[in-house]
Amino acid sequence: MAEVTTIRPFTAAAFNQYLAEHKLMTVKCTKCDSVYAPPRAICPKCHSEEMEWVEASGKGKLAGFTVIYSGPTFMVEQGFDKKNPYVSGIVELEEGTFISARITGLDMSKPAEIKVGTPLKVDFVEFGEGDAKKTYLAFKA
């Protein structure tokens, strides 16, 4: 049973705060029941402003992916490079909405064998110490 929590603002900061608590939260429109991730303050389908946070089940499947050999600085700092690539993907959540995430648990030496449709489970990757610690949304194959 998904947990409904009290209202935090529908912002990137609140979404990231939830990630730090190891929760992937979606936003649901209380008028038309549409579910969104990342958060939205206004429902694009019915324009209602009555939204609520709902925790996602954490189950999903791979809708599209890439193996990146040359990433942005923050990924290089986390130890990724040409010899140690990583996977970024678009995940279709069980709730029917999609989100961008890092994908773990795949054999990156054989990218041609990574399959769109692979079942995934939410994961949370932490990097940095103390105040600099950041939690990244990931999905594990």
Partner: protein, 422 residues
């Protein structure tokens, strides 16, 4: 869907020019824009008095990040002696140029201006490749897409992975797009990479021999394109030759009200369709194999122009990556979903094919100075419609042409339809 209203006043292109695209250590965006403006003025058959220009719109994605220079529009207007006309910088990522073109169309159609200069300029090569990649990444939905590690090659690679899974395409199929666009660019003196892939490969062998190194033994361009040392993987499944380059360059076109076009040329190119649409981040779409904003912009531009996809003779589309050209050829209605990669393989999009795409060499080989690209597409349309495309001129009459310019993964798309009537 945005409402499609007819243009309240006709708009015509009466001149077009571009700088050479490439990497120019000694030139900034201002210098390149001056070159493009001079080329444009030469293209106006009957000449014109620059003081007739009422306004200027210039596409530029990020001179702030690339050159540490913001507020670039009045600087560019000053450089070509157009002060004090209103000069406006337009930013919608890689669609900045296409959106600037549309602003120019609207300024004339509304009656607020009679003569408008539309430009685009970007100077990217002062930064190294890693810094350029990060600057381009700011065009994404930064808080929600970037933490996943995505880069722009990565976004389009993810679209390619979904397309391959849905339609059975192999990554090899995308090489047909790169080969064709390099073939076209080899005939375009303004292209950054004006060489065929065959010539490129032979150059690599010659360079190795000159240095006394063992020469690579590629047996064909296909061998070269499959080889990690010839064509390294950037973001699986995309390789180096699937990606447009980092470029410096500028483009300029002159738009005027239809009723005064004959004062500038006997052969104006009428802009009969102009549309723009916006889209979500890549993850917020029902499908990764099509760009909804492109389909909307195309439908609206066709409706405004009163034409269909079938009527279009040539198109310049936004091939920032090879997969983007395949998807564009479907979103524009030239081919059915899942058929675009086969059309490229069958030569249908080649210069002598049924639907020539990117006769200029496209972003892939002509170069992609991002804010200039949407305007440079109109420059190629101008040349093809005037019969001035030299060795790359397509056969027969080019009476209808189209440009398709995309920002980010499709958060912005513009489509323009051009007509030559005589």
């Amino acid at each position: 869907m945005p409402k499609v209203k007819p243009l309240p006043r006709g708009v015509a292109m009466v001149g077009a020019g571009m700088s050479k695209f490439g990497a120019f250590a000694e030139k900034n965006s201002r210098d390149l824009f001056v070159e493009s403006y001079k080329a444009m003025t030469k293209s106006v058959d009957k000449g014109f008095d620059p003081s007739r220009i009422d306004a200027m719109y210039v596409g530029n994605f990020s001179s702030d990040q690339f050159e540490h220079q913001a507020h670039i529009a009045p600087i560019l207007a000053d450089a070509i002696g157009l002060l004090p006309i209103p000069a406006t910088r337009v930013e919608d990522a890689c669609a900045s140029g296409g959106v600037a073109l549309r602003q120019g169309v609207m300024a004339i159609a509304s009656g607020m201006a009679d003569v408008v200069l539309v430009g685009g300029a970007e100077k990217m090569t002062a930064l190294n490749t890693a810094a350029v990649t990060e600057a381009l990444a700011t065009a994404a939905d930064v808080p929600f897409e970037i933490p996943a590690g995505f880069t722009f090659p990565g976004f389009y690679a993810a679209m390619a992975s979904a397309y391959m899974a849905q339609y059975g395409m192999k990554s090899e199929h995308l090489m047909n797009v790169a080969i064709k666009n390099h073939d076209n660019a080899a005939l375009n003196p303004n292209a950054q990479f004006g060489v065929t892939i065959q010539t490129w490969m032979e150059g690599r062998v010659a360079a190795a021999l000159k240095k006394g190194k063992p020469a690579p033994t590629w047996s064909s361009i296909w061998d070269f394109l499959h080889d990690e040392s010839g064509n390294p993987i950037i973001a699986y499944p995309l390789r180096l030759f699937d990606c447009s380059p980092v470029s410096d360059g500028a483009a300029a076109i002159l738009l005027v009200a239809e009723e005064i076009a004959h004062q500038f040329t006997d052969h104006p190119i009428h802009i009969i369709g102009s549309a723009q649409a916006s889209g979500s981040a890549l993850h917020d779409r029902p499908s990764l194999t099509s760009i909804p904003a492109a389909k909307t912009a195309a439908a609206n531009a066709y409706e405004m122009a009163g034409v269909t996809a079938k009527d279009i003779r040539i198109a310049e589309v936004h091939d920032c990556f090879t997969i983007a050209e395949v998807i564009a050829s479907e979103d524009l209605g030239f081919f059915a979903p899942g058929e675009g990669f086969k059309a490229a393989e069958d030569g249908m999009t080649a210069r002598n094919g049924a639907k020539p795409i990117n006769t200029s060499g496209g972003l892939k080989a002509k170069g992609h100075p991002v804010g200039a690209s949407g305007v440079a597409q109109a420059v190629e349309v101008w040349k093809q419609m005037q019969g001035q495309a030299e060795a790359r001129q397509v056969d027969g009459d080019v009476s209808l042409a189209l440009t398709h310019n995309v920002g980010a993964t499709g958060s912005t798309c513009t489509v323009h339809v051009f007509e030559r009537r005589n």
